[in-house]
């Protein structure tokens, strides 16, 4: 406060930094909160069932985290921009089948590249439908989900494409220490996603249009263009997840990821990103993915019976978020409709 601050007593200027620090700490904690939940769950289960701490199980958890997490990196961009994509399972199937089909003829690099390109192209389809045909993302991508699945079934004639290349399987399922490659990939991807969202003007456009599309347009931002691009980026992420899943299943087929979209969106939302757009937490998303993985592994390791697993999973979810919601409620955004 320059001109006016001449007459304001310094108080405002003093309180500003200190309390803004506390507020940032608060909001930081409210995000960390989920980490605490995951950590506690992990330790408690481990104490009850020591084999839970075994490298095998930890890897198992990290694998699951990676598949959902990698896809969720794409999804968090979309949701931040006020968009949504339900066609995840379709994109994964098509691109994984593509990998499986071409692997015998090309090297792994090319195969993976192809998958990612295909993912981007399918994303392009979604983007065009939403942006220029102006179909609500929910319906447009629900439609393309069916389209892509149908395409996969027809392509494979409903048969399975087995992934024989042991190198490919190694590349997609091996680990450094107890950290599987897909998980390391997730870490890298998450960092990239964060930078894209908060360091680039593209990311700024995404957050702006998620926050107030009308205002973003009038500010001269390339809203339409960015919509299409973000769908393509997301498609590429889904495809990458598909590549790793194909490796783990050593096969690819239309049903390989059915229903995954809910898990992916859930990871994003549980991570603290609002479906209303404007803001996205990438770190939270990764933690969200991890929460679900830890949860499902815990229930199996504790031998919780199938039907009760449905109930416990839901209950834990509600409780975890409910407690978090109380803390976060302060950090609501004013003027956001």
């Amino acid at each position: 406060m320059t001109t006016t601050s001449a007459i304001t007593e310094p108080e405002t200027t003093r309180t500003a930094p200190t309390s803004s620090v506390t507020s940032t700490i608060l909001s930081f904690l409210s995000h960390q909160y989920l980490v605490v939940v995951v950590a506690v769950a992990f330790i408690v289960v481990g104490l009850i069932k020591p084999s839970f701490f075994g490298a095998g199980n930890i890897q198992n958890i990290l694998f699951e985290t990676a598949f959902v997490g990698i896809a969720a990196c794409g999804m968090v961009l979309l949701i931040t921009a006020g968009l949504l994509d339900l066609s995840v399972a379709g994109v994964i199937a098509v691109s994984a089948i593509a990998v499986g089909t071409v692997l015998p003829y090309t090297n792994i690099g090319m195969a993976i590249l192809l998958a990612v390109v295909i993912g981007a192209i399918l994303g392009l389809v979604n983007g065009l439908l939403v942006t220029y045909v102006k179909i609500a993302p929910f319906i447009a991508t629900l439609g393309t989900l069916y389209l892509f699945l149908g395409a996969s079934f027809i392509w494979t004639g409903g048969k399975v494409v087995t992934v024989t290349s042991s190198n490919f399987r190694a590349l997609t399922t091996d680990s450094i220490g107890f950290l599987p490659y897909p998980f390391l990939t997730l870490i890298v991807l998450a960092v990239l996603t964060y930078s894209l969202l908060y360091r680039t003007s593209f990311g700024r456009t995404l957050r702006a249009m998620g926050s107030n599309q009308r205002a973003a347009e009038l500010a001269g931002m390339r809203v339409n263009q960015s919509k299409v691009v973000v769908f393509m980026v997301a498609g590429a992420c889904f495809a990458l997840a598909g590549v790793f899943m194909a490796g783990r299943l050593s096969s690819a087929e239309a049903n390989m990821a059915t229903g995954i979209e809910m898990g992916v969106i859930a990871a994003v939302v549980v991570g603290g990103t609002s479906l209303r757009g404007g803001r996205g937490t990438v770190f939270g998303t990764v933690i969200g993915a991890m929460l679900f993985a830890v949860l499902s592994k815990s229930l199996n390791m504790l031998g919780v019976s199938s039907y009760w697993q449905y109930i416990v999973t839901g209950a834990v979810l509600v409780i975890a978020v409910a407690v978090g919601a109380r803390r976060r409620s302060a950090a609501e955004v004013r003027g956001a409709g």
Binding site: M1, T2, T3, T4, A6, I7, T8, E9, E11, T12, T13, T15, A16, P17, S19, S20, T22, S23, R199, T200, S201, F202, R204, R207, A208, G210, S211, N212, R214, A215, A216, E217, L218, A219, G220, M221, R222, G278, R279, V333, R334, G335, A336, G337
Partner: protein, 506 residues
Amino acid sequence: MPAMLAVENIVQQYPGVRALKGVSLALDAGRVLALVGENGAGKSTLIRILAGIEQPVEGRLLLRGESLQLANSAESQAAGISVVSQEFRLVPQLSIADNIMLGHELTSGGVVRAGHTRARVQELLSTLGLDLNPDRLVSSLTTGDQQMVEIARALSRDFDVLIMDEPTAALNRAEIGRLHGIVRRLAAQGKAIMYVSHHLDEVFDLCDEVAVLRDGSLVHRSETGALDEQALVEHMLGRKPQTFERAVDAAATGKDPRLVVDGLRVGGFDEPFSLSVGAGEIVGLAGLVGSGRGELTRALFGDRAALAGRISIDGVPVQVRSVHAAITAGIYMLSEDRKSEGILPHLDVTENTMVSRDPKSVSGWRRLVPSRRSERAVFERLRGELSIRVPHGGQLIGNLSGGNQQKVLLGRALQSGCRVLLLNEPTRGVDVGAKLEIYQLIRRLAAQGVAVIVSSSDAPELTAISDRCLVYLAGRQTAELAGPDITEDNIVGASVGQVAVGGTHA
């Protein structure tokens, strides 16, 4: 007898901001109290507390001497307090009638009585001089009309205390006159009224008393008669205001035309628009609701389809099929609708100012990956120039006071590096001190050769800054005023259809 409504030692604290530092104030029945102060002084905060929207961290409320707890706005309304808030609380998807009666619908057995409601609303609207169809969706109203509906909404309840937060910010002179009439009548009926405005003439014209907030503290209170505008401004700013004399830039008007609009037809208006603005010239657009000022600027900015006509900049014809096309052609527009077409609530103030930043002003890859340091620096500069009151550049814009939000958006426009700048209601809700600084900035920008169009319902504003002033009436240009002819009376006269005879009027 005790005051109708009183607050004692009210303190309100937001993260990073102490908005109210122990304010005590009383409203008496039958009197109109003006509450004035710089942007961010704490006026709306105090009002949000009286409306039950926020609860203070300290202090207490007294209604007729009885202490009063307000947990939510329902309780405030029940206590007989009715509020016109600065940011409209309208629901775009509902009709005018539904919005006005929202929360106190006329029903029988839960069913809304459409007939009664329409009649009731119709009557309210006509006292405000509005003949809008009550069934119209609010989303289709201009800002001006929305402001009137927001006012009608406050009047539709029965109340003892009426609190109006900048009710006239979006109104033109005729509407203001009518509103004042109503306020006087209500005061005569013994209502206690608090009236917030940055138009000091209103304060002296309408209000019995004036209270001045500065940086969260009450620094002055007296009968309006007891002081003059000069003194009042000094109380508000805590210093002498620098004066802004209108330097009629003879050169500017002479300069060759930068923007030329020829026969631009806009849907809903029978006559096409034609005008030309010279480089470095500031042209004002005046007119009542429905004048088409809004549509004209939107059409020039590619936001509303132009059905026919030519636009050229520096002699080069330009197609403005989209907003982006307009911007690449060197045109930029500031919308009059701060909330729904301006602010990006999830972004901090720095980012909000940078979203339209001129790409040419940053080097190659920095356009893709903006430098936070340079952006922070630029924002700090603007914050000084526009005296934006905000604890730090990382503050979310939604947490700023209305006027400060307006300043941020203006800063955004200044960053656009455009050749033609279209400003709709540029100083809506901005305090007197900052207003002058903003006029200086606009002038400086013009001096750099930018062609500026200022569309405003605030006649004094137009007289203050425009080199030339075009007055519209239902899409027809009724007058072109220049130099000494640019007077409030001429503007108002022409905007209701009398051709101005020189400067000699009333």
